[in-house]
Subunit: 133 residues, 4 copies
């Protein structure tokens, strides 16, 4: 069980969403950070690095936007629903762009794994944004 | 002259906006990160820290969102205008919320300074978003 | 299986350490980021927030240092062993300080969980630093 | 005058170092983040990107380590001198590595500018570390 989940179960405050939806989203988004940071490094090690440039740029943006989104979601107790939604939609958008580019390079196992992480993140952002009233 | 400005002047690529508009926005956003991180620390040192809780939470979110926005703006060469706009609007929104809360505590010099940084950041995000077609 | 582990298993490059030691360290350090960010938010929601100030400051530093350490460790292919060691020792040190402070507040379930995450991170950093020649 | 400097002048607490030394270091380190993030993007746009791989990796590590160092330095009121020194030495080390690599590519104006930012950051870290008792 992730610390995000343990933390949310320990929390006695009123939340706007189900704790399990929130902790699953935080986990999916944090996992996407990890995958994107590593994918950049493997992309840089490919002999045809000039074909990987767009993938690297999108992974860099995706890692930063996802990292910030996970942090803001973890500060739930005084959160602003409009701000959270706006950030989730931005995060969904970059995960979609990055996942699509990684799928184009899925013959590289590291890009295939990263695409999977991006798609899971994209779905988690979309579902959490819908769950917020 | 900031490194963001020097870098953009050295850049021979086609940009969607005036280099000076972009570098001024990056500088204003990065300055806001610095002010928010420091303001949290001064808030925590106030005797009435329980009155500063909302200010601390907003400054934490503002620092993270601004930090990511500055990074994404600095990766201009392969940027996606819709994504950039979406992020700028989120950044404008948190700077507005954070600036407003800091103004409520402007009798603390550190909050007055942070409010000024947030308002400058908010304005820079709004202007850059409008300049993007 | 974490993406860090999947990524490292997919990697054909020579590594200085066992892939499983490295991926376990990255996971423990990333988990610590998640716990510290959330703990700050719960600390801020406590009625006696003025007693939580040192815990908040240490958690903020711990989250940032751990987050950067996980990123640098994920960029393994061209890494510098001395730099990695230096960063791991700094990360071990802040996890130790933060874990100790969280233990003092372990009657709060969120601090007990965060202390556990910090101690696991501290151990992972120490062990990985020793494994690096 | 940077917000770091304004903030430190507004601060009534006892500091372990001269406020101006601290704010100058924070500014130099934050400027280095900005230069490294931008340099990665320009490196990726070079036709001979495969010759820039080591520069990109070092700039990514340098941006992350500097960014965290600036944040920790800005949380001065409850700081631990040993931790601060350890982080400053790690930051000096990566700025030195990154500055050296950027100098090798100084025929690219963006690398020349980034090398200058790294060398200024390296010097600021070394001087601040010596000033800490």
């Amino acid at each position: 069980m992730s610390y995000a989940k343990q933390m949310l179960q320990a929390n006695s405050q009123a939340l706007e969403v189900e704790p399990s939806s929130l902790s699953e989203a935080i986990d999916a988004i944090d996992d996407c950070v990890q995958a994107c940071i590593a994918d950049v490094d493997y992309d840089l090690a490919e002999p045809n690095v000039n074909e990987m440039v767009e993938c690297i740029r999108l992974c860099l943006n995706c890692a930063d936007i996802c990292g910030t989104t996970a942090r803001v979601l973890s500060r739930q107790s005084g959160s602003d629903a409009d701000l959270t939604k706006s950030l989730l939609m931005t995060c969904e958008s970059i995960s979609n762009l990055c996942g699509g580019e990684c799928e184009r390079h899925a013959h590289h196992e590291h890009c295939r794994i990263c695409a999977e992480a991006c798609r899971r993140c994209e779905k988690a952002c979309r579902e959490l944004a819908s769950a917020l009233v």
